[in-house]
Symmetry: C2
Subunit: 210 residues, 2 copies
């Protein structure tokens, strides 16, 4: 198909499609003349993935490029690939971390040990967790960490459901894509559900007051 | 204290502190001479809150300003205030939504009904959930919605723990602050825990292969 049809099919404007090609997110079309390229069904699918990661996942263009490189890399075992994909969609924090980060890292190591999780202590997610716990401590809400095991219980159940879904997608390329989509969109879905459950719980707890 | 000490105490540079004052995130100090202002302990606490929301919560400066206005507004019931605070930290999606959004909104309404959640159907979180579900459908992973109730179970447990924590913070101002901190940092904490649980589950499922 021509670029105009690709644009209509996906709702992404022609200049934006060209931008994604220049940025290495989308493979170029096959040239059929010096000024015209032809696009395939795979371009439609890839464009939808890019938009989901950008719009709902909140990833940057550079973040999307990294994720797409992981999807396209044929030289890894599934487990390593899943790990790499998951690492790439962990938010990285730039700010000052203050003195609490050392204690927070110990708290994370203890939690991982207590849960019996077989994860690397240097996993980006472990560091992301430590930074979030240090930030809580910094704003005077360190005691929020008391509910950490409730969060961990819930995370285990959700991760189990995620991996069950992933294991059903047997084609390797789809498998990696589904893990990335599930990871990024799953965050958004869980966050939205938690807000709805908050509203419900708040009405029960505080709804009676004037 | 002077601005230099405020900077040392919080690790935020003097030009950045001045920027937050200009942007309305931080109240100005009390002028002690035409070129010098004095800052209080409340400024330290507020700066830490701002940095947590920006660095870990990933909010924009405009988003932080909205949240701070909610904290400072004295004219609301606790339940309404919690709702307003929660609404303000729901991500809003700008992208194209395609045709699937109508079906996704119905799916969300059915879910809310099935769970017996007492929430407004127009809550920003309900719309955020619909957008995420539509995006899943768009990238060919609509069947991921089968795990939605597992996510909802987990979200209920986490929200219950959150509100228990919040209910312990009886001072109204602290209560609102704790809900905002818990909502924003809680997302980051849950996302990190889910990644760690993924690595553990993936090792069990796929770790044996070459």
């Amino acid at each position: 198909m021509r670029i105009g049809e690709l644009s209509r099919r996906t709702g992404v404007s022609v200049p934006t499609i060209k931008y994604y090609v220049r940025e290495g997110l989308l493979p170029a079309g096959r040239l059929t003349s010096p000024n015209q390229a032809s696009y395939e069904e795979a371009h439609v699918q890839r464009l939808r993935l890019i938009r989901a990661l950008l719009d709902v996942g909140g990833l940057s263009v550079a973040g999307v490029r990294e994720v797409i490189e992981a999807v396209d890399d044929p030289d890894r075992s599934v487990h390593k690939l899943l790990g790499a994909a998951a690492d790439r969609v962990v938010p990285r924090y730039e700010g000052e971390q203050g003195g609490g980060i050392v204690a927070a890292r110990s708290a994370v190591a203890e939690l991982v040990d207590r849960r019996g999780w077989d994860t690397h202590p240097k996993a980006p997610a472990a560091e992301a967790l430590a930074v979030a716990l240090a930030a809580l401590e910094n704003v005077g809400h360190g005691s929020f960490a008391e509910v950490l095991d409730t969060y961990a219980d819930a995370a285990e159940r959700v991760a189990e459901a995620d991996l069950d879904y992933v294991a059903r997608n047997v084609v390797r390329e789809e498998l990696v894509e589904s893990v990335i989509v599930g990871t990024v969109l799953g965050d958004a879905i869980f966050a939205a559900l938690r807000r709805l459950a908050h509203i419900d719980a708040s009405r029960r707890l505080f709804g009676g007051e004037a």
